[in-house]
């Protein structure tokens, strides 16, 4: 006997929602999904009428669905936003060049302007070259730090007011777990915020409209809407520490599907004791980007790469910042610690 949709009660249900367990037909699922994103945007006041919004597009399922839904909701509810696509080329052959093709196709399908910024032009290094120097263990740090700045630079070039990224509920829950495992109390406090602070020039505020959407539902949406996306994992990802948090999260979801929202709820309601030392926001003395140290992380990483000392930037090195700033060479002992060991 076919199961009927629990929302409209007429049509046959074709899927079971991972989030609530209800069985829905295609049309009701689309409507529920889009309505939830709309509610998130409206209740959190993410956008103002007339803003120029850059959608961070990587060609993967999250950003493709984000672009699709943003365009749809913009028209349906008259947000009055001007949308643009912004993409970052890290220079990972076999992965990023394929996904960029998908972004270019998306641009044509959604008729949105597109800008691609690459690590090569911004920093002079591609991820492939970086991995050759650093090895396969700490390279996600480089990619993540560089990408953040690349997005901001690209946003400034495009003159957008806001960036929106495709982070979904699973990503946020994973980040909460990872910050607990790493003991990073400052990030733990900030990571569940739906949008970043908007003060400071050189910094474009970002938001996450898909914050409460489960990854599985995004995949279901993309599948049923027959959206065009690129679905391979980064070739360097198997060794990332985040993988542990991700496996844990997947197991949790199989025990209790609401765990993901429960973790986000916990993260939102955490409160830190007074008197715990928190980093203070300042600016980098070399490039002017925001930073809590005297040198921003990407300057430190770049310095390490250019000097052939790739471990500069991984681990604690505050004392070396002053030395870098005044261009003083390191002692031999320091140099030895910062080089990687090649067998």
């Amino acid at each position: 006997m076919p199961v009927l949709c629990s929302s409209c009660g007429d049509k046959r249900a074709v899927l079971k929602r991972p989030k609530t367990g209800h069985s829905l037909c295609k049309a009701c699922f689309f409507w529920a999904f889009e309505e939830e994103v709309h509610q998130t945007i409206v209740t959190a006041n993410l956008f103002k009428h007339g803003e120029i919004v850059g959608i961070a597009a990587s060609g993967g399922k999250d950003s493709t669905v984000l672009a699709h839904v943003m365009k749809l909701l913009n028209e349906r509810f008259n947000y009055g936003l001007e949308l643009m696509l912004l993409s970052v080329d890290e220079g990972i052959s076999g992965y990023r060049d394929d996904s960029l093709e998908t972004v270019k196709r998306n641009q044509q399908q959604y008729e949105l302007p597109l800008k691609i910024v690459s690590y090569e032009e911004l920093y002079g290094w591609t991820m492939d070259a970086i991995v050759k120097q650093v090895g396969r263990k700490n390279n996600c740090t480089f990619c993540g730090v560089f990408r953040r700045q690349a997005l901001d630079r690209g946003a400034l070039m495009l003159k957008v007011d806001k960036i929106c990224t495709g982070h979904n509920a699973d990503d946020i829950a994973e980040t909460v777990v990872m910050n607990v495992l790493r003991g990073d109390i400052a990030r733990l406090r900030r990571c569940t915020a739906i949008s970043t602070a908007s003060e400071g020039d050189g910094v474009v505020p970002r938001c996450k409209p898909l914050k409460y959407a489960y990854e599985k539902e995004i995949v279901l949406y993309a599948y049923f809407k027959k959206l065009d996306y690129f679905s391979t994992e980064c070739i360097y990802s198997p060794n990332a520490y985040r993988g542990h948090a991700r496996t844990f999260l997947k197991d949790l979801e199989s025990v209790r599907p609401s765990s993901i929202m429960d973790i986000i709820h916990s993260g939102e309601n955490l409160s830190v004791r007074d008197g715990v030392k928190m980093p203070v926001q300042g600016t980098c003395q070399r490039c002017g980007y925001i930073s809590s140290q005297s040198l921003c992380k990407s300057c430190v990483l770049l310095e390490g790469l250019n000097r052939g000392l790739p471990k500069l930037g991984i681990g604690k090195h505050h004392r070396l910042h002053d030395k870098i700033l005044i261009q003083q060479p390191f002692t031999e002992k320091e140099e030895r610690k910062l080089k990687t060991v090649h067998f």
Binding site: K19, S259, D262, H265
Partner: protein, 489 residues
Amino acid sequence: MCQVEEEYHGPLLREELPSVSRQCVKCKEASAAVVIRAGDAYCRGCFKDYFIHKFRAVLGKNRLIFPEEKVLLAVSGGPSSCSMLSQVQEGLSQNAHKKLRFLPGIVYIDEGGAVGQSAEHRRRTVEELRAVFRATGLPFLMVPLEQVLDLPSSAVLSAPGASEQEAGAYKAAVDHFLLSDGSSGVTAGQQQETPPPEVQEAHTHSLQRLLGSAGTLTAREELLSILRQHLLVHTARSAGYSKLMLGDSCTRLAVKLLSSISLGRGAQLAHDTGFSDSRYGDTILVRPMRDYSAKEIAYYNRMFSVPSVFTAGLDTKTADKSSIQHLTESFVIKLQADFPSTVSTIYRTSEKLQSCKGSASAGGDRCLLCVCALDTAAENASAFSATLISEQLSQKKSPGESRQAPASQCCSIVGGELCGNGARGCCSSAKAPPLRSLLCYSCQLTIKDMASEEVLPQYILSEAERRLRRSQLREEIRGFLLEGEADEG
């Protein structure tokens, strides 16, 4: 090399060979007996000093336990709590000025009925532990978990505690004690040989039915720990103990932190994993073993023959993914093997947290089950409100439906508040009282997994009814109340 006269004229380069037998890093004389962390090898004597010192330090640093105070030690028979017991004994046997100054008692909760042990097995375990406790010379109580069904409603209430102590109060109390010669000592609590309370089969069945009504092992474990906590606090209160010492080790607390986050208890983390837990007001829960990793405790127990009795829990011998708590435990232990600083890092995170200072006053808005402040104010753009919206959007909204269906729907949609005037009729005619409005986020999830709310013990149900009636009253007179009225619950 292959000469007739083998003579080396130049200076010989002797390589430093790593030696297998190391010296203790502290006293540098005796040979090491145990390696705690990567760099720390200790000999027997130094290890014992280190272990004992940590216990005294954690008590001394958090100046919570006053001289002559009655403290109840909750011993489950496991290695951590038995180690705690032996540390307390150790502290009591010191020479006068370093002696521990409080008056301890022991309590053991017999959970065999909940786990499904036979009566014979339970009796044997109780006898073994009785022998251990008798040897300590401290007063002890053996309480079967079935007694939780007969608790009064005060078990879930937070009573006003001792008035706020200023910073100097502890020092003043200690000085006063020293001056008065402190001769009363520990013999104040005489050991009484109370016969073991008879456990009726019917009670065991009720308990098992209560736990069995929870559909998932996660909910069952949460329910068991809530009941255990209620019983412990009630026992402490009725026997006149103002502090309750729990034997959670660092490893166990790190696992508890991560599993609490996974269960949605972010607002109550400091209560669940901090050194002191003052949610019950007059009885304060203290965790002195929180600096010890499970490994250190195991080494100590083995080297110095601390007796302990193993009792199976609900998740013993179950698969990894059977419950969230069990899954988290295996995750943390496995990660610890690859990254040895995992447990201590998680533990340090727990030290930096505090409980959400919500708008809850002392008696007012506390969760019915876990007695922590409620965190279900569904603010705009929060995970909780997003969940409620999703539930709403996935279900049929038809006004022409029968009265019954909207009753259960509207209670879950409205969530934190009671239904308005018109729907009051539907709530009272519904099958079960809207218990959810009285619970915090994670207790709501636990109750959601239960087949029926009526199997909950009477004290919980009657307290729930009382609170619902009171909030109904408040709704009625809301227009006439002035803002800022303190509510005594």
